[in-house]
């Protein structure tokens, strides 16, 4: 059992499925895999272009996605990015760029594992 995704959150998502309806957990995880990569790309572009407002907006939205699937470590990085970019602290953001990539990679691997088992 991995702790990349919070088991309690996954259990809640699984319990939301209505009988005869598609599984909510599967739906949400698939949505995450479709929605997050382009926003991560957008975030990297904004950071490369030095557009701090766009960096903040993207970090904020990524934080929401991570929080909703119980990706606690990725959520923590996004939360810090959200706060630092709101404050305009570019030095702190630079040190978090790699961390976000690493955390996203772990989440992605875990989701793939969950969806294919």
């Amino acid at each position: 059992m991995s702790d990349v995704l919070d088991q309690a959150v996954l259990d809640v998502l699984r319990s939301l499925s209505a009988p005869g309806e598609p599984d909510v957990l599967t739906e949400v995880l698939q949505l995450f895999m479709v929605e997050v990569p382009p926003r991560l790309e957008k975030w990297r572009n904004a950071w490369a272009a030095g557009n701090i407002q766009a960096v903040h907006r993207s970090a904020h939205s990524l934080k929401g996605s991570a929080g909703n699937i119980g990706a606690n470590a990725m959520f923590a990085v996004c939360k810090e990015l959200d706060e630092k970019s709101r404050a305009g602290d570019t030095g702190a953001i630079g040190s978090l760029v790699d961390a976000l990539g690493v955390e996203y990679g772990r989440v992605q691997a875990e989701i793939e594992r969950l969806l294919h088992t």
């Binding site: 739906e27 949400v28 949505l31 939205s61 929401g64 929080g67």
Partner: protein, 216 residues
């Protein structure tokens, strides 16, 4: 309980889907809006959703702006607004509530807390709806009372009343049409002496006269 419709407005698809699934599981019909403009389109109709969960930060219109617009409109049954916010500083929450939101939920939403707060919203909506219905029926009753408080032209001799269309109507007809009053016909003791007794006596005399003629 009436299943009040709930609007979920959030630009972040994962959050929108999760919050929507929580509400659907609890039996609420759910409407979705992926941005502030579309949320406003749902809320500015003649029959807006009873409860709205609005994300604080959305492209286009943001949550507090939508609430301000909503509160500027006159309504006897205003939409109950819960702000969805990942900000947890009390200054932000105060700003949202000042703008006219009824409550807030921090993201990511906890299922039990979210539903408890939405249930509070349904209680408020139910009370407001019942109150608005009561006010409407009282207003109708008051309009009827006012109609009967005007000067009515009445014929001094036959007591007919001239109605708004300039026709003379019997008192009974007029009041039956303009109020919930209906009449049963009877007579008072004075009129019994003045009209009924003489009529009965005349009938009795006529019958006696007929009897006498028959015997002859």
């Amino acid at each position: 309980m009436v299943p009040w419709q709930v609007l979920v407005a959030d630009d972040e698809p994962v959050s929108r889907t999760v919050v929507g699934a929580m509400l659907k599981k609890a039996g609420y019909p759910v409407l979705f809006a992926p941005d502030g403009e579309q949320a406003w389109q749902h809320l500015s109709t003649d029959d807006p959703p009873a409860i709205a969960l609005l994300d604080w930060e959305m492209p286009g219109l943001q949550g507090p702006e939508i609430v301000q617009r909503l509160r500027a409109r006159e309504s006897s049954t205003p939409t109950y607004v819960i702000l969805l916010t990942s900000r947890d500083s009390s200054a932000d929450i105060v700003q949202g509530l000042r703008a006219g939101a009824d409550d807030y939920v921090t993201k990511p939403a906890n299922e039990d807390e979210l539903l408890a707060r939405v249930n509070v919203g349904t209680r408020v909506v139910q009370l407001q709806t019942a109150l608005a219905d009561r006010v409407r029926s009282l207003e109708d009753a008051l309009a009827n009372v006012k109609a009967l408080q005007t000067l009515l032209p009445m014929c001094a001799y036959c007591k007919s009343i001239r109605n708004d269309q300039n026709y003379w109507e019997k008192v009974e007809t007029y009041f039956t049409q303009h109020s919930n009053v209906s009449f049963t016909h009877s007579y008072c003791p004075n009129c019994y002496e003045r009209f009924v007794r003489p009529e009965l006596e005349a009938l009795e005399d006529a019958r006696a006269a007929q009897e006498r003629q028959r015997r002859r």
